[in-house]
C-alpha cells in the first residue's frame, strides 16, 4: 500500500518534470531551435532547492504552499493509474470522481491563502485572475464530467475506465470531450488561457514572491498536478491504460495537443477568457448532455 503510494508520487513527479522538459523542447522545435535538454526542469528544481530563500511572510505563506503541494498529491492519489490493476491505485477505491473534483480546487485555494499573506499587488492580481478564470474553467469541465457520470450511471473512476473497453468516451460523447478538452487546456495553464502568470503584465503572477525553495516546491506541485490532470482526462475519455507504456503514450498525445494549441494562440484578457469559456465550451458541453 504505502510502497504503492510512494511509487505513484515518484512516477507523477518524474513524469511531470519530464513533460515540462518536453513542453520546452517541443515549443523550441516550433520556434525553430533546439531547446534545453529534456531534464532541464529537473535540474532547475534541484538548483532552486539549493538556493537560499530570503523572504518570509509569516506562517500563512508557508501554509499556502503546503496546501498547494498536498492538494496536488492527494488529488493524484485518488486517481488510479492503470486499468484493471491492483497496483498504482492509491486511495481510488475509497473515493470517486466527486472527491477528485473537490480536491482539484484545493490547490488554487491554498495558493490564494499564501499569496494573500504577502502584500505583493502582482501576486494578489494573479490570484484574482486565477480564481476568476477557475469559474470559467470549471463550468464546462463539470458539465462534461456530469454527463459522463450520467452515461455510466456511476461516479467511480475505475468503473468508467472499465466501461470504455469497446469504444472510448471521447468518441462515444465527442461534444463532452471537446468541452472538457478546451477547459483542460486552460487547466494546464497553456495559452490562450495563461492569464495567471502573464509575464508581460504582472511579472510571474502568484509566484512573484516565491523564491528559492518555495519556488521549487511550487514547480514540483504544478508538475505533479499537471500530470494528474492528464491522467484524469486519459482515464475518463481515452479509456485509461492497461500498462505504463500505454499510459505514457496516451498522456503524451494529449499533452502534445495542449502544447501545439498553446504555441499558436495569443493570450486572452481575463474577462475575455471567461467570456470565451462560458460561450463556447460550456454550450458545447450542454449540447452534448442531450445526446446521452
Amino acid at each position: 500500500m504505502f510502497l504503492d503510494i510512494f511509487f505513484m508520487i515518484i512516477l507523477a513527479y518524474s513524469f511531470g518534470f519530464l513533460y515540462y522538459g518536453l513542453y520546452r523542447n517541443i515549443s523550441a522545435r516550433v520556434h525553430g531551435r533546439f531547446g534545453p535538454p529534456i531534464i532541464q526542469s529537473f535540474i532547475d528544481s534541484i538548483k532552486l532547492f539549493s538556493k537560499e530563500n530570503s523572504t518570509s511572510f509569516g506562517w500563512a505563506f508557508y501554509a499556502g504552499i503546503i496546501f498547494m503541494a498536498t492538494g496536488a498529491v492527494i488529488t493524484m492519489l485518488f486517481i488510479p493509474f492503470l486499468n484493471h490493476s491492483t497496483h498504482l491505485i492509491g486511495f481510488s477505491q475509497y473515493g470517486n470522481l466527486i472527491v477528485v473534483l473537490y480536491l482539484m480546487v484545493l490547490g488554487p485555494l491554498g495558493n490564494a491563502i499564501g499569496i494573500g499573506s504577502n502584500g505583493n499587488p502582482f501576486g494578489v492580481m494573479g490570484v484574482t485572475r486565477g480564481l476568476t478564470r477557475l469559474i470559467g474553467l470549471e463550468m464546462p469541465f463539470y458539465i462534461a464530467l456530469i454527463g459522463l457520470m450520467i452515461a455510466n450511471q456511476t461516479a467511480d473512476i475505475s468503473t468508467i475506465m472499465a466501461n470504455q473497453s469497446e469504444i472510448y468516451n471521447a468518441f462515444a460523447h465527442p461534444l463532452l470531450f471537446i468541452g472538457a478538452f478546451i477547459s483542460f487546456v486552460g487547466f494546464m495553464g497553456a495559452s490562450p488561457f495563461d492569464v495567471v502568470g502573464a509575464p508581460q503584465e504582472i511579472y510571474s503572477g502568484p509566484a512573484t514572491e516565491f523564491s528559492g525553495k518555495f519556488f521549487a516546491l511550487a514547480l514540483s506541485q504544478s508538475a505533479i498536478f499537471s500530470f494528474t490532470k492528464l491522467l484524469l482526462i486519459v482515464n475518463l475519455f481515452l479509456g485509461g491504460a492497461d500498462n505504463l507504456f500505454l499510459l505514457i503514450a496516451k498522456t503524451f498525445i494529449l499533452f502534445l495537443a495542449v502544447v501545439l494549441v498553446g504555441n499558436v494562440y495569443s493570450r486572452f484578457t481575463t474577462v475575455g477568457s471567461v467570456e470565451f469559456l462560458i460561450k463556447v465550451p460550456t454550450v458545447i458541453a450542454l449540447v452534448g448532455l442531450f445526446f446521452i
Binding site: 520556434h31 502582482f122 502573464a198 509575464p199 503584465e201 495569443s266 493570450r267 484578457t269
Partner: protein, 370 residues
C-alpha cells in the same frame, strides 16, 4: 508600492518584461483598471547633446548612431544631411542610392523587431522567435556591408564610408526573396490570428481630429487614415525617383497600426528591389571633404527630418564657424507619443493592455532622453 485612497500605485518598469526598453510608467490602479498614468524617463540619459558640443565632426559621428538603438541609421542620415547643409556638400548619385538602401534595410530590421515585441506583448512568443531570427539575417548583411551588426557608422557627411562588397546586391535580393516567402507565415499566425484581432481591435484608439495638431507621426498618424510620410512629403535622397505607396488604415487602434506596419514591410521590400535595379554602377561614394581638424561648419542653423521605422526623426543643428558643432538637438518620433499620447491612452485601460499599447506606439526611451 503604497496604497492611497483605494488606488494601488505600481511602477510598470523599469525592471519589467513588458516594458519597451528601460523606462517606467507609474500607474494608479483601481483593481486592474488604470486611473492615472505618468511616464518616467531618464534611465538612459547620456547627455548626447553635451557630448557632441565637445567633439569634432568625426568624433560626433561615432556617437550619434547610439542615440536610437533599434535603428541607428536614420540618426546617421540626419547628422550627415545636416552637416552637408551647413558645409555646402553635395553627395553623388550612387551614395544617395546606397543610403536609401541602408535606410530601408534598417527599416525592415526595425519592423521585424517590432513584430517580435508586439506579438510577445500578448503572449504569442512564437512570432518573436521567428521574426528576430529573420532580422538577424538582415544584420548579417549589415555586418558584411559596414562591419557592424547593430551600430554601423556607415553614412558619413559627404557620402558613405565603404564601397559595396562584391555580389552584395545579389545577396540582398536573395534575402528579400526569403523574407517575402516568410511573410505569408507571419500573416497566418500573427496578423490574421483571431486571438490577436480579439485583443487588438478597439484598444488604444487615437483621436483622429487631434492627431495632426498634436504632432503625432508615423504609424500612429497613418493608422488614423492620414497619409503623411517624410519620404513623400518632403523627399530626401532619391525617394522622389522611387515608386512606392504610403499604406494607411482606418480606425486608429492597435490593430490599425499593426496593419500599417504589415504593409510597410512589403513596401520597403519593393523599394529595395527598385534600388537594386536602379543602383548606378559607377560614381564615387565619398566626396572630397576637408581634413577633420579643418572640417568647419558655417555660422547658421538647419532642420532636417528622416522617416524612421517609427515616424519622423528630426534634427536641429547650429554651427558657429568652428570645427565643433554648436548645438544639435534631437527630436525622436516617440517623444510626444511617450508622454502626451501614452498618458492619455492608458486612462481607463486594462493593465493587460499596457505592453501592447506601448509596443504599437513604437515607444523607444533612448531617443526621448538623449
Amino acid at each position: 508600492m503604497q496604497k492611497n485612497n483605494q488606488l494601488i500605485k505600481i511602477f510598470h518598469g523599469p525592471q519589467h518584461p513588458g516594458i519597451t526598453g528601460n523606462m517606467s510608467v507609474e500607474l494608479d490602479l483601481l483593481g486592474e483598471t488604470i486611473k492615472k498614468a505618468r511616464t518616467h524617463v531618464g534611465y538612459l540619459h547620456r547627455g548626447f547633446e553635451k557630448l557632441i558640443e565637445r567633439r569634432t565632426i568625426i568624433q560626433a559621428f561615432t556617437i550619434v548612431c547610439r542615440i536610437c538603438v533599434p535603428e541607428p541609421d536614420p540618426n546617421e542620415e540626419n547628422f550627415a544631411r545636416a552637416v552637408e547643409n551647413l558645409a555646402d556638400i553635395e553627395i553623388s548619385e550612387k551614395a544617395k542610392y546606397i543610403r536609401v538602401m541602408v535606410l530601408e534595410m534598417a527599416r525592415l530590421g526595425a519592423l521585424f523587431l517590432w513584430m517580435g515585441g508586439q506579438s510577445s506583448s500578448i503572449g504569442l512568443g512564437t512570432i518573436g522567435q521567428w521574426s528576430v531570427h529573420d532580422r538577424d539575417l538582415i544584420l548579417d548583411l549589415f555586418e558584411e556591408l559596414t562591419g557592424g551588426r547593430v551600430y554601423h557608422m556607415y553614412i558619413y557627411p559627404g557620402g558613405v564610408r565603404r564601397e559595396l562588397p562584391n555580389g552584395f546586391l545579389d545577396k540582398l535580393s536573395q534575402l528579400l526573396d526569403y523574407l517575402e516567402s516568410r511573410l505569408p507565415l507571419y500573416d497566418n499566425v500573427f496578423f490574421d490570428n483571431s486571438s490577436f484581432k480579439k485583443r487588438a481591435m478597439g484598444v488604444g484608439i487615437v483621436d483622429t481630429n487631434e492627431a495632426l495638431r498634436y504632432g503625432f507621426v508615423g504609424q500612429v498618424l497613418r493608422g488614423c487614415g492620414i497619409k503623411r510620410d517624410v519620404r513623400k512629403d518632403n523627399p530626401y535622397l532619391v525617394y522622389d525617383k522611387l515608386d512606392f505607396e504610403i499604406p494607411t488604415f482606418e480606425g486608429g487602434d492597435v490593430y490599425a497600426r499593426a496593419m500599417v506596419r504589415r504593409s510597410e514591410i512589403r513596401e520597403s521590400i519593393k523599394i529595395l528591389r527598385q534600388v537594386i535595379t536602379q543602383m548606378p554602377q559607377e560614381g564615387l561614394i565619398m566626396q572630397k571633404i576637408p581634413k577633420h581638424r579643418k572640417f568647419k561648419l558655417k555660422k547658421d542653423d538647419t532642420f532636417v527630418a528622416t522617416e524612421s521605422a517609427r515616424g519622423e526623426f528630426a534634427y536641429y543643428m547650429a554651427g558657429d564657424g568652428t570645427e565643433k558643432i554648436r548645438r544639435m538637438q534631437v527630436k525622436g518620433p516617440s517623444l510626444i507619443h511617450g508622454f502626451t499620447l501614452l498618458e492619455k491612452l492608458l486612462i481607463d485601460e486594462e493593465l493587460s493592455n499596457v505592453a501592447m499599447i506601448m509596443n504599437s506606439l513604437g515607444i523607444c526611451p533612448p531617443e526621448m532622453e538623449r
